[in-house]
Amino acid sequence: MSIRIDSKICIGCGRCHDVCPGTLIKFDCDHRAYIKYPRDCWGCTSCVKECPVSAIRFYLGADIGGQGSMLHTEQEGEILRWIIEHPDGRTTEIQVNRKESNQY
């Protein structure tokens, strides 16, 4: 359970660093964010949702059945698009309206 930050996409805004409940995200010498303690990630995805340029990918560790898919979000108004990229290049997208309640 952890995240990967793409330093080529990261703009160094620091929002992921701010929201991480474990203080796990730091900056490299180019002020790009990276996760210093990947084993300590809780998997809350706060940073994924906060990133304005979708540079952060969330994945399941192999020890809990992860199969290499990566999850990120893109936001359009109240719509939060959750996008899963599969290892074979396919993608699955689920849209959640932040103004709509859970049905369960």
């Binding site: 409940p21 809990i64 959750w82 859970n102 049905q103």
Partner: protein
């Protein structure tokens, strides 16, 4: 190292659910200055970081606060405080309305009434519940928030709290905070026991792995009375992702089945601990693995579940999608987690009076750190934050002012200097954490022993935890974040000692799995319809048995 000396009327330790609400309450009812110290950042700290699936404590039409208190008392098999539960329950609906005003989306029917899930839950979109709370707090002029400041100790003189000491984990600063009153809202304790997946995904756990029991540990060391640490909480969760099961059980009516397809929940009972116990037993007797029976739900239900999990536990949706087996086509495997100490679900925590005053004068407790009131969930934690805040305002009307002597400050500086000093040490903080979790797992009723233990094992656990405590004196930190890790480990070790003492003290089995004492496998109402409380005196934990506080309209004040 930089040093900062701060003064405030009220210090709130922990900017999570209860802490934020306490700050909002104080600002609404007074002009007192408030300082919140938060070890992370209040926007996404604490239990609500990922979001929450429902509000699980709400009084629906036709029910009363007493009904909710009765339900909690029953689930705890009588070992809870009725005064705390009723005063909490009376506020559940008003804090819910306020949450909605702050922007929380709550499902309503055509007539504008909240839509319930069962008689005490309502449906929401809780993905952004913590940012809503944080924004409300940050808008208040009289409230200052210090993010990334980890409180390491209380300042207590003659059983009167006068403030606290903290470390700025990203600015290398030592903080001395003088306060006339303190609300401790640090949450419960995770990471005491070896987790379900101790490797790369060790932190994929039910409770926030960053909640280390700091509030408990600081109180224990200063002699605060604690209650019911033997009533551990073990969550029944989706396997691997440790995602919630209630959404499946209550949302689409999924029953617990074993590998033979038999519904087994009726065999063991439906209280929280019985649901875990049944699953453990089915596995042990060769009928595992166990599942929630979701096969055959409609595509529409599956789509709604995928979204609901994204709003609180995205790993489960990711797992369903990447394996190609959603809940409609494959039952969801379940397992029990490692045990936690968490006063929002069970009754472990500070022993408080009805107003949430601890036994240390000027120190109030709210949320998971506060004992006696299980099944708080989010709204109960908010209600407790409100009650503690109102009690603090009353206390401040007529209290002496706090002061902190220089020699106490120097002692803390000396300790920090010791951990930061360059030394060759054999063990790392991480190694000692693993050692602690292995001891608790093997000898104090962890996953390894199916949550069971006996007196001989507990004695060994105590001996070994003390050895690790002594080793922790030798640890070295190369920066302030590592320094926090040393303090967190030491907090957990203190909590472990208390848990072990409490497990040994309650010589019966009242709650299967939560406290399953193999030397005393039966419930014993004749002797154990009492609270097991404790105080640390001269480094030893002394157990105190107290009579139950029950009955309509009951009220409790500290007596001795």
């Amino acid at each position: 190292m930089k040093k900062e000396f701060l003064h405030t009327d009220v210090l709130i330790i922990g900017g999570g659910t209860a802490g934020c609400w306490a700050a909002l309450t104080i600002a609404e009812q007074s002009d007192r200055q408030v300082l919140i110290c938060e070890k992370a950042h209040i926007r996404r700290s604490g239990c609500l970081a990922a979001g929450v699936n429902a509000l699980n404590a709400y009084i629906t039409e036709g029910h009363t606060p007493q009904d909710y208190a009765d339900y909690c008392m029953h689930d705890a098999a009588g070992i809870a405080r009725e005064d705390l539960l009723v005063t909490m329950s009376e506020r559940l609906n008003s804090v819910t309305r306020r949450l909605e005003q702050l922007g929380l989306v709550i499902l309503k029917d055509a007539a504008g009434n909240y839509v319930s899930r069962g008689w005490r839950n309502i449906k929401i979109n809780g993905e952004n519940i913590k940012p809503l709370l944080a924004d409300a707090v940050l808008a208040l002029d009289q409230v200052t928030v210090l993010n990334r400041v980890n409180i390491i100790d209380f300042e207590v003189q003659d059983n009167r709290i006068c403030g606290a000491y903290g470390i700025g984990i990203e600015n290398d600063t030592f903080y001395v905070i003088q306060a006339d009153a303190v609300i401790v809202a640090t949450g419960g304790a995770a990471g005491l026991y070896k987790p379900n997946n101790p490797g790369f995904s060790r932190h994929k756990m039910w409770y926030p792995p960053f909640n280390t029991g700091a509030g408990y540990a600081m109180g224990i060391r200063h002699g605060a009375e604690m209650t019911t640490f033997e009533m551990r909480f073990i969550a029944l969760r989706c396997k691997d992702t440790i995602a919630p099961t209630g959404t499946l059980a209550q949302g689409v009516g999924a029953r617990q089945i074993n590998s033979l397809g038999e519904v087994y929940e009726q065999k063991y009972g439906l209280t929280t601990s019985e649901r875990v116990y049944g699953t453990v037993n089915e596995n042990q007797e060769g009928r595992g693995p166990c599942f929630l029976r979701t096969e055959g739900i409609s595509d529409e239900q599956q789509d709604s579940l995928m979204k609901a999990y994204l709003n609180m536990a995205p790993s489960q949706t990711l797992k369903w999608i990447e394996t190609g087996h959603g809940p409609a086509s494959q039952n969801v495997e379940i397992e029990g987690t490692e045990p936690y100490i968490v006063g929002g679900h069970t009754a472990s925590g500070y022993w408080v009076d009805t107003g949430r005053a601890t036994t240390i004068r000027g120190l109030y407790a709210a949320g998971d750190v506060c004992g006696g009131a299980p099944q708080k969930y989010v709204t109960g934690a908010l209600a407790e934050g409100e009650i503690a805040a109102e009690s603090v305002l009353h206390f401040l009307l007529d209290c002496d002012h706090a002061s902190i002597p220089q020699e106490h400050i120097d002692a803390h500086l000396h300790e920090i200097g010791h951990f930061l000093s360059d030394r060759n040490t054999l063990y790392t903080t991480e190694q000692l954490e693993e050692a602690m979790q292995t001891v608790m797992d093997s000898y104090a009723g962890g996953i390894k022993t199916n949550y069971r233990y006996n007196a001989g094992q507990l004695a060994l656990a105590d001996e070994k935890i003390r050895q690790i405590e002594a080793l922790s004196d030798t640890l070295h930190a190369s920066d302030f974040q590592e320094l926090m890790y040393i303090y967190e480990l030491r907090e957990r070790l203190t909590v472990c000692r208390s848990v072990i003492a409490h497990l040994a003290a309650r010589q019966e089995t009242r709650w299967h799995s939560f406290a399953e004492h193999l030397d005393y496998p039966d419930r014993d109402d004749a002797h154990w319809n009492v609270y097991v409380n404790s105080r640390m005196e001269n480094g030893e934990i002394r157990v105190i048995l107290r009579d139950l506080v029950t009955g309509k309209g009951c009220h409790y004040e500290h007596q001795d």
